[in-house]
Subunit: 126 residues, 2 copies
């Protein structure tokens, strides 16, 4: 399972895609340990750059990402994880996907509605 973590100081980008719909849900970063945890647990696990620790997505919200397939690219310096997303949304801001803002004439505009109330899930914490 040799991946190239050297280009980003021990990390690589992990693209999370909905297995059923093909929608890209989020991009996170994994270090070697996070990648191994993802494979072993069957749930996407990342390395938080802001908190400097591993986090299994959904550990507080319950909105976990059940791994269906993992692929890597030609340079083995990124991974694509196709998942079944548990719960109403992946984004901690209340949206189905983190990619809810579209570029429109030079401005980022919200292009969809929230699918859940983040305050009810996260208790007001970001």
């Amino acid at each position: 399972m040799e991946l190239d973590f050297s280009k980003l100081d021990g990390l690589l980008p992990a693209v999370i895609q909905d297995y059923a719909t093909g929608r890209v849900l989020m991009v996170g970063f994994m270090n070697d340990e996070a990648f191994r945890k993802t494979v072993e647990s069957g749930f996407a696990t990342f390395y938080s750059r802001s908190r400097n620790k591993l986090w299994m997505k959904g550990e507080s919200s319950g909105h976990r990402l059940a791994v269906k397939e993992i692929t890597t690219d030609c340079d083995q310096d990124s991974v694509l994880v196709r998942v079944e997303a548990l719960g109403p949304g992946v984004c901690h801001n209340g949206y189905h996907s983190c990619f809810y803002r579209r570029l429109d004439n030079g401005q980022w505009v919200e292009s969809e509605a929230r699918t859940y109330d983040p305050a009810a899930v996260y208790g007001g914490k970001p």
Copy 2:
């Protein structure tokens, strides 16, 4: 068009997705200039970390990526670019997508056939 390039020393990951099929084709990195060129030209343009310069994907192969839609995520530190991929394949190794290796019992295995001969397109150069 404020994006957060600060977390990766001036870069952010750009996920390239086929607009028609939803397939994730590659992950590249953009700096602010590459992002602006992408928007202005309508063709995905990256910053090469190995060559330390901008490159428009397809400038040598002709396999350019025509931008259909750009979205950004909640933290505005990554972008998702949905494209029409011109030519038979995006990967310089001859595959339709760079993500042609699937994790299977702890081993990366090629999960699809080449769609073109990279030697004929790139003249044997990687």
